[in-house]
């Protein structure tokens, strides 16, 4: 029940991301993305390989349906899935893997959950801006773009976290 609920929320948020990418573009230089937090909240039981495949498919769907550069979202999202377990282990400790439990903001700490979300967002935004710029822009420009996208994306992700985190859906 909980898993099916999660995937329903996941698909709804994917739809939201498509709408966000297609119709709510603040600027071509600001990337609003909730994809990292979606991948971060995939159940630990899915495993890294499964999470990477889901992230790859999610990224490609967004790329194809939102008229972006095909492969760009997938390129930035797959590393988030690859680093998902190290990030969770770093922030929450390895007990979650031993018990095969997902993290819960209320039980594992809100600030830790925020930190994990921010780290995932940082990785995603960094790779997205780097690959999208293709070394054609000066460093300061890419750095500014990353900072704005990171902050705005993180705020949006924290809002979505309430829907994705299992204990908030009870």
């Amino acid at each position: 029940m909980r898993r099916s609920g999660f995937w329903a929320v996941y698909l709804l948020l994917l739809l939201a991301q498509l709408l966000l990418s297609s119709f709510f573009s603040i600027s071509p230089y600001v990337t609003l993305s909730i994809l990292p937090v979606m991948v971060l909240c995939i159940s630990i039981r899915v495993g890294t390989t499964g999470a990477m495949l889901i992230a790859f498919a999610t990224g490609l769907v967004v790329d194809y349906l939102s008229e972006g550069l095909i492969g760009l979202n997938a390129f930035a999202l797959v590393p988030v899935a690859f680093l998902r377990n190290p990030i969770i282990g770093l922030v929450f400790g390895n007990e979650l893997f031993a018990r095969k439990e997902d993290f819960y903001p209320r039980r594992n700490g809100m600030w830790k959950t925020v930190l994990a979300t921010v780290l995932a967002q940082a990785v995603f935004t960094l790779l997205y801006v780097w690959a999208d710029g293709a070394a054609a822009n000066p460093f300061w420009f890419d750095a500014a773009r990353w900072a704005v996208s990171f902050v705005s994306g993180s705020l949006l992700s924290l809002i979505c976290l309430r829907s994705l985190a299992p204990d908030t859906r009870k």
Binding site: T49, L69, L72, F75
Partner: protein, 271 residues
């Protein structure tokens, strides 16, 4: 158990690389900017890789290159000596003189062993009488005189190094009209020598170049040996001049063995 724990990590890494490669492929096909960027990166990686391979290949072929250069050097010396001989004979012809200098022959060789820390140092070269090396040949490099071949076996030669208290070579200070005297090793430093018996009336400046005089039967004339330094008067009759040699005896590897073709005739007194 430990080996098993690595397998999922390796699978994850392989899947990660495959998915990222697929993403890069998609971006390469669909983004012009990314295409140029990735192509530039690929060229840089390819260039670095092949540059590295080339450097390694060149490093391992250096020995062959050095041998080829030494061989070419010996051939050029022989050619130079022939040209000089022709020039001398052309000059002599105008004076109706029929002298005979048959010139020198050059054979390149590699020093396989040399000593530097004795009063009587030696060099062993990888050429012997089967390669045409004869006793009483000179050993030189482009930086000066190295020694004198003393004994020859089939494939090796034993030479006394110039860093030998018993060896002196005839040297000339300055240009063609310069004063001539014996040059001997100073016995202490690997690049210092003393030019003796220079007449007091001969004027020179520190920094003047010292050459082989050509009076020796072993070495051709005009091989630069070093530069003159300080001098001191000996017995109120001659000057003794310190010479800094061009040849660094610590870095000798390839040399030319030079043999005076007329040596035997001269020694037998037939000329």
């Amino acid at each position: 158990m430990r080996r098993r724990s690595w397998i999922p990590a390796l699978i994850n890494l392989a899947v990660f690389i495959a998915l990222e490669a697929a993403c890069v492929h998609f971006m390469f096909r669909n983004g012009e900017l990314q295409k140029a960027w990735l192509a530039k990166g690929a060229h840089a990686v390819t260039g670095t890789f092949w540059g590295g391979v080339q450097s390694v290949t060149e490093f391992f072929s250096l020995r062959g290159t050095n041998r080829a250069l030494a061989e070419e050097n010996a051939a050029l010396r022989a050619e130079l000596e022939r040209t000089r001989a022709m020039f001398r004979e052309a000059c002599i012809d105008t004076m109706k003189y029929h002298g005979a200098s048959r010139g020198y022959e050059y054979i390149w060789a590699e020093a396989v062993r040399l000593s530097r820390n004795r009063q009587h140092n030696y060099i062993i070269l990888n050429r012997g009488f089967e390669d045409g090396v004869k006793e009483k040949s000179g050993v030189i490099t482009s930086c000066g005189v190295v020694g004198i071949v003393e004994a020859v076996s089939a494939h090796h030669s034993f030479a006394f190094s110039f860093m030998n208290s018993d060896i002196s070579i005839s040297a000339r200070l300055g240009g063609e009209q310069g004063a001539v005297g014996p040059l001997v090793w100073d016995g202490r430093n690997s690049n210092k020598a003393v030019l003796k018996e220079i007449p007091l009336q001969y004027r020179f400046q520190p920094g003047d170049t010292v050459y082989t005089s050509g009076h020796s039967l072993l070495f051709p004339a005009d091989i630069p040996l070093g530069v003159a330094g300080e001098s001191r008067m000996v017995n109120g009759a001659t000057n003794e001049i310190k010479v800094t040699l061009f040849q660094d005896f610590r870095s000798i590897r390839y040399v030319s063995i030079v043999h005076n073709k007329s040596l035997q005739e001269i020694e037998e007194g037939s000329l």
